[in-house]
Amino acid sequence: MQRAGRSILGRMWGWGHEAHPAKRTLGRPRDAHVPKVGPMQEDGPVAKKGERMNIVGPGQVPQTAMALEQVVEVLDILCPMHVIIAPTGHIVSVGPTLAKLRAEQGLRGAPFLEVFELRRPRNLVSIADLMAAQGLKLHLKFRDRPATAFKGLLTPLPGGAGAVVNLSFGISIVDAVRDYALTSADFAATDLAIEMLYLVEAKSAAMEASRKLNLQLQGAMIAAEEQAFTDTLTGLKNRRAMGHVLDRLITLGRSFALMLIDLDFFKAVNDSMGHAAGDHVLQQVARIMVEETREADTVARIGGDEFVILFDGAEDRAVLDRVARRIIGELEVPIPYGGQLCHISASSGTVLSGDYAEPKAERLLADADLALYTSKKRGRACHSFFREEMRDETPVGPAQNVGEPGESDAADGEVSSGAEIRPLHGAGRHPLM
């Protein structure tokens, strides 16, 4: 079938199928054929001047055939991926680079639409449609594998002698150079293919360097954030982190408990045994609180000796009370430091998000503070839940007398020495928010 087609075409076009030079070198002007200007070129933009047609020199008997062969020579250099199609739709000749893509089976003589699938425009189905598609952007694809995609542009040859389709790889260039082992000699010097490959490679290298930098910066950012949300002395979350967790619990509508714990007699330890002892005590306190709570709970140090524990999903007062008492009990176990024992205790107050129609962080903290104040008033080492009445019981302003000896009903043998006197915060506004 192909053989027959080829010989018919050969006769029709006035040259044998060997007429197409097997090998051409591109991009090397010294090796390139310099075709004589024939009637085909004269038929170009200047043809309208009519008389130019007569300038063609004498002695060009097989004019059309010669001219076409010359056109092919020109196209092979300028457009190494062109296809010349006969009016019947058979491939007459292909440029050297396109020939290289199907070197084994050869393309000449094959019906164009059997070799290439016309993807767009979709309404082109017949060879007649194709011939009429002058100037349209064609999207084509090899029907067999590798199914390389092409962009194409068709222009008819004069005198109904068929058409030239110039192809380019477009974006498939990257796969094409790999699939067909193309070299820069396969592209016309004016083709931007090599520049495109260069850019792809250069940009990939630059992107890779940027990606590495980004990863490194991201790691540094995570570490910085971690640090920004961590109390470096105890390793607990800090006030800012607690605020974020609290906001998140509220936003998600979780039921949770907020427990405020304030150390008693810590200042005495700090003053009498030094800051190093104080720091050690704080670290032990943090350890105890983490041990006595679950993974899902948030333990934060929000002030010098003030802690918040957020119990996610906690609703049971009895359980919370037990946890609070257990923590206080643990904290009262004397902590050894430098051959001495540090004695501290703690008071705590708890609010439950479920007690509020619309829990607000500021309100929860303020109410927990009131409950804590009540615990202090009750004589330290106590745990209280917030109750509405506490708002009325609380004196306005700092409760200077809290913890004064004699007022305590939970005298546990520790002598307060008065160093523990510190202001508690009035209701309504938590100083940490």
């Binding site: 150079v177 790999r178 000699a185 260069y198 250069a202 990939s204 630059a206 890779e208």
Partner: protein, 207 residues
């Protein structure tokens, strides 16, 4: 100076003399860090300080070190990307030489803030060229010598290179510290096999 330049010096030192020596260099140069980042811009004073420290560590003249850096960039497997990007410039060595004028612009296409020296090739005969290297900072001339020598090997060409200090200032090359002219004599274009260059070797791999 662009991180890519500083990073190239670091990788040359690390790949050639080991990471321990580089750490000493970073310390002596008082960088305050060990690793340069390719995609950051550093203060111009750091690069000469690093080169001073390398010079002191290796006990080698500065020009020799710079030339070795040029050689490293083209021939070391860890710098293969550089070699490939340079080989995109031309099919053979002469073709490549003619592409050098475009090199700074090509580099800028990929990394817009990379300011490479201005290069200008003059052809005196088919086998005699001179390359003017006009840089904002001193030191690129010897690097270029090392690169050209290795690229000639890469293409399989036999060349003679000679560096002239000073020389004719190329048009537009003003207020620059680094001005070098390199005389290039092509003895044989196809002297050796050279290394192959596969256009599609790296494309599509994403890195």
């Amino acid at each position: 100076m662009h991180g890519l330049v500083n990073r190239a010096i670091q990788r040359f030192v690390t790949d050639t003399y080991g990471a321990a020596l580089w750490r000493r260099v970073a310390h002596e140069a008082q960088l305050g860090f060990v690793d340069f980042e390719s995609m950051l811009i550093y203060d111009d004073v750091l690069t000469p300080r690093v080169l001073d420290a390398v010079e002191a560590e290796l006990g080698k003249p500065r020009a020799e070190i710079l030339e070795d850096i040029g050689t490293y960039l083209v021939s070391h497997p860890n710098a293969e990307a550089v070699r490939r990007l340079l080989r995109f410039g031309g099919e053979d060595f002469v073709d490549f030489l003619h592409s050098l004028d475009d090199l700074p612009d090509r580099a800028r296409l990929a990394v817009s803030d990379l300011d490479l020296p201005q290069l200008e090739l003059r052809e005196h005969a088919a086998d005699r060229f001179s390359l003017t290297v006009c840089a904002r900072k001193d030191g690129f001339g010897p690097v270029m010598i090392g690169m050209l020598r290795s690229l000639a090997d890469d293409y399989g060409a036999l060349v003679l290179l000679e560096r002239r200090a000073g020389g004719e200032r190329a048009a537009g090359c003003v207020n620059s510290e680094g001005l070098d002219v390199i005389d290039i004599t092509l003895i044989e274009a196809g002297y050796a096999e050279g290394r192959s260059f596969d256009l599609g070797a790296n494309v599509g791999l994403g890195a």
